[in-house]
């Protein structure tokens, strides 16, 4: 009996195994126009006003569309729901002319009112959206969100007619069109949302397959939790002719090694990332599927200004000057990362900061001596806080060694669970803490705004009125050249005061099947699926 069972089992393995080997999902995807997309982790949801995160963005960009869309070749945004727009001379008034063919996935025509209602929704405080500040540039938006005004008519968005939308901003915001390709500004279908809950209902079931209505190139077909989300071509999309894919399958593969194996076995066209230890190997092997794209993200260390040992700017500078960034990216990261000498990644929409961060151990030692530390009065033990992750540990180990060698400082590495790390950062319970920031839109403001006083993500305790003044001034001018000069001045103030130590600029490293065409490098990692298609050379 047992023997028979064992033989059956082996037979089953062989039969089932052989039947699966002929046609991999990548091969069949090519025939059927199905794009198999490795998407990192299970998305929290697909309500664009509630969720945050990269996997959520990948799915939402296929399901919904804002007034503008990211340009796949870089540069200014392309028309989305708005087919054209005009901007007033003072840069504060935008008139959007909506595409009359723009429809919801249920076939209803989109109107300017849809945007008014959607923006009212994200600014409704009780919804608890985490991105309302993306619209704070509108007149009265912040006041409405914080309850200072209660009449939404006072907010700077009006429907002039069914297909014309007027937006009034507080100050000229040259990156405003760029903001509109961020999912928090995208519309939601009023009737569908209200059918399943109220305007501020986070838990309504309107995002389920069968209920979900939006206006993107694809529509939601199925959603199996932790398994796969399938979206299919939306026939009502205004530019459906351009859309070549029939379906996209999103796999929430949280384990990077599993994702790598899936790609190698032909189960994925695209991986969300790459196991960091494999990147140098793939570079060496000239792996044709490896892609390393520029990415608007910065890896840096936060210094807690309120810590008594870090209040002296000389100490902060000494710490920054004793780090060999080139060595860090060449020997530790080894995946095409770029040493960072400014807070904003250079090249963000034509912005090239001129700040310098020398690797100069002698100068660093001298600064430490000036700060009053010597062999007889050594600098106390310093703690680097990071969330548990092998890559962060490697960086911290390298910096620990550099500080020990170059400054003679004893450094302790403290790794904590993600939430504990966040909570310690939030309450200022750290000395040095690792950090990363990815731009929300293609403008230096997405980085530099972070360090203004009272910004929740500053976390360093550093408040500089001059910096705040320059930033304010930069954001009230309509002249881009003048604005960039002011932003660069802010950048210089930041690097002079060193509340953060920039380490390197991120890259997007992933694997892409050669069958995938039209998936171009994009600094914000925005890839509108209507430009993507499958073709074998």
């Amino acid at each position: 009996m047992l023997k028979k069972l064992s033989i059956t089992l082996i037979f089953f393995i062989l039969i089932a195994g052989c039947s699966g080997s002929d046609n991999s999902p990548v091969d069949s995807g090519l025939e059927n126009g199905i794009f198999h997309f490795g998407n990192g982790s299970e998305p929290q949801g697909i309500d664009p006003h509630v969720v945050t995160g990269v996997p959520e963005h990948h799915i939402l960009i296929s399901l919904c569309e804002g007034l503008t869309i990211a340009n796949p070749d870089g540069g200014p945004n392309l028309p989305g729901v708005a087919e054209s727009w005009t901007i007033s001379n003072d840069g504060k008034e935008y008139i959007f002319y909506l595409n009359k063919n723009a429809k919801w996935s249920n076939g209803e025509v989109m109107t300017a009112d849809d945007f008014v209602w959607s923006w009212m929704r994200i600014l409704t405080a009780s919804l608890g959206s985490q991105y309302p500040d993306m619209l704070y540039y509108l007149e009265g938006a912040e006041e409405y969100h914080t309850g200072k005004i209660t009449d939404f008519n006072e907010v700077g968005i009006k429907a002039i007619d069914d297909h014309t939308l007027k937006v009034n901003l507080k100050s000229p915001t040259p990156f405003f069109l760029g903001l509109l390709s961020h999912y928090s500004t995208w519309p939601v279908h009023k009737e569908t949302v209200l059918k399943h809950g109220s305007i501020d209902d986070r838990t309504g079931e309107w995002t389920r397959p069968g209920n979900f209505v939006c206006n993107g190139p694809f529509q939601l077909k199925t959603w199996e939790l932790n398994n796969k989300i399938v979206v299919e071509k939306n026939p009502h999309y205004w530019d459906a002719e351009t859309v070549k894919l029939n379906e996209m399958h999103f796999y929430p593969v949280s384990n990077v090694m599993t994702e790598d194996r899936m790609f190698r076995a032909g189960q994925l066209h695209l991986t969300s990332t790459l196991p960091s230890q494999k990147c140098p190997v793939y570079i060496e092997e000239n792996n044709p599927d490896l892609r390393i794209d520029p990415y608007m993200g910065q890896y840096f260390y936060r210094l807690n200004i309120n810590n008594p040992y870090l209040t002296d700017v000389k100490v902060r500078k000494a710490l920054a000057y004793s780090i060999n960034r080139k060595l860090l990216v060449e020997r530790v990261k080894r995946c095409g990362q770029i040493p960072a000498y400014s807070f904003t990644p250079p090249g963000s929409n034509g912005y090239y900061p001129d700040t310098e961060l020398p690797f100069n151990p002698e100068l660093a030692k001298q600064l430490m001596a000036e700060a009053g530390y010597s062999e007889s009065n050594p600098f106390p033990k310093l703690e680097i806080l990071f969330n548990t992750n092998e890559d962060h540990r490697k960086i911290a180990l390298a910096i620990q060694q550099m500080w020990q060698e170059n400054l003679g400082i004893q450094v302790e590495l403290v790794n904590q669970d993600w939430k504990v790390y966040l909570s310690r950062e939030m309450v200022g319970d750290f000395q040095v803490s690792r950090a990363g920031w990815i731009g929300d839109y293609e403008d230096p403001n997405t980085f530099l705004d972070l360090m203004r006083p009272n910004r929740g993500n500053n976390k360093t305790g550093w408040e500089d009125l001059e910096y705040d003044f320059v930033m304010q001034k930069a954001n009230s001018t309509n002249n881009q050249e003048e604005r960039y000069e002011l932003l660069m001045e802010a950048e210089r103030i930041l690097i002079k005061n060193m509340p953060i130590i920039p380490l390197y600029t991120y890259v997007r490293a992933y694997q892409l099947s050669p069958d995938v065409k039209g998936y171009k490098p994009h600094i914000l990692d925005h890839h509108h699926p209507k430009f993507i298609y499958l073709e074998r050379d």
Binding site: L2, K3, L5, S6, L9, F12, I13, L14, A16, G17, S19, G20, S21, P25, E42, Q44, G45, V50, V51, T52, A125, S126, G128, S129, Q130, D133, H145, T146, R202, T203, G204, E205, T207, E224, L225, N226, N227, K228, Y251, V253, S254, N255, M257, T258, R261, M262, R264, A265, Q267, D417, W418, K419, V420, L422, S423, R424, M426, G436, G456, N457
Partner: protein, 307 residues
């Protein structure tokens, strides 16, 4: 036996109550909250979020609220996945986890009992040494190594089996079931060998042989019934362990089971999800332990008569 069953069920209620209470307050002590994120939200937004999930109330009020919901069978909404209830997510992951555990335990039993019994019957021969050495390797090699190894051989090099997924591609259930089953097969092999060796030396086996039964009858009908009692006792905790501990295999093979929800909920501070899955798994452990105790009682004639 029925009395034992009801007595144990009654005892389980305070156990589960204690589990729920301790877990509730432990997660409140843990630093960090469900809405802490890399991109910190403003205090205003945080207040709104806490209000939406009743987290502004005192711990005691939240506890009473949660427990009264629990009594009604309501495990609350997930904090991490807006619009999803914990019960719904458990119901989604459970069939997959059960199916995986079922195949794994089946593989473990077939492989384990077969090699264990064979080893006992052919004691101190190659048929004993080889399966037992493999079993020892099975015990020593963790699933996080075994899984990728099997994938490398059968998925990447031989290209005969999919490397991940569950029910999407033909044969994608084989490698995860084998990975999970193999570790338990090893334990079962050693347990059944030990149990069989003990029984094979007993008088009733000698009697069975003396009365002229075939060796197969002696082994299958007489020896195995007693020899496999340790295996049955092991099965209860093993099945519970398989259900709660399949996280690693689920992650390696991208399986949408409950184990991933359980572990990820803890990392995300998804309070209701942590509570829901902990209480559910506790109930499972209690239930399968009870089942295995009852099966052991039933298999052992002495205790069966006594009860």
């Amino acid at each position: 036996m029925l009395a034992i069953f009801f007595k144990r069920i009654l005892l389980a209620i305070p156990v589960l109550f204690a589990v729920a209470t301790i877990t509730f307050f432990l997660i409140k002590i843990a630093p960090g909250g469900p809405f802490d994120a890399d991109r910190a939200v403003s205090p205003q937004v945080l207040k709104n979020l806490n209000e939406a999930y009743n987290l502004n109330a005192s711990n005691w009020e939240q506890y009473v609220d949660y427990m009264s919901g629990l009594l009604r069978g309501d495990l609350g909404p997930s904090f991490r996945f807006p619009g999803r209830s914990v019960s719904e997510m458990i119901a989604t992951g459970l069939p997959v986890t059960f199916e995986l555990a079922f195949y794994a335990i089946l593989i473990a039993l077939v492989m384990g009992v077969f090699s264990g019994v064979l080893a006992a019957l052919k004691r101190n021969t190659f048929l004993d040494f080889i399966p037992m050495s493999i079993a020892m390797i099975g015990i020593c090699v963790p699933t996080f190594l075994m899984g990728p190894l099997l994938v490398l051989i059968f998925g990447i090099n031989l290209e005969v089996l999919p490397v991940s997924g569950w029910g999407q591609l033909p044969g994608d259930k084989i490698l995860p079931s084998l990975t999970l089953g193999f570790a338990y097969a090893a334990y079962i092999a050693r347990l059944s060998r030990g149990g069989m060796l003990e029984v094979l030396n007993q008088d009733f086996i000698r009697t069975a042989r003396a009365k002229g039964l075939t060796e197969r009858m002696v082994v299958v009908k007489h020896a195995m019934q007693g020899g496999l009692i340790p295996v049955v006792s092991f099965l209860g905790p093993a099945i519970a362990g398989l259900l709660a501990g399949s996280f690693v295999v689920e992650t390696i093979f991208q399986i949408p089971g409950l184990g991933r929800f359980y572990v990820e909920a803890a990392f995300n501070r998804d309070y209701t999800m942590i509570l829901g899955t902990t209480i559910f798994f506790s109930a499972m452990i209690v239930f399968f332990n009870l089942m295995s105790d009852l099966a052991s009682l039933w298999l052992n004639p002495r205790s069966r008569d006594a009860s």
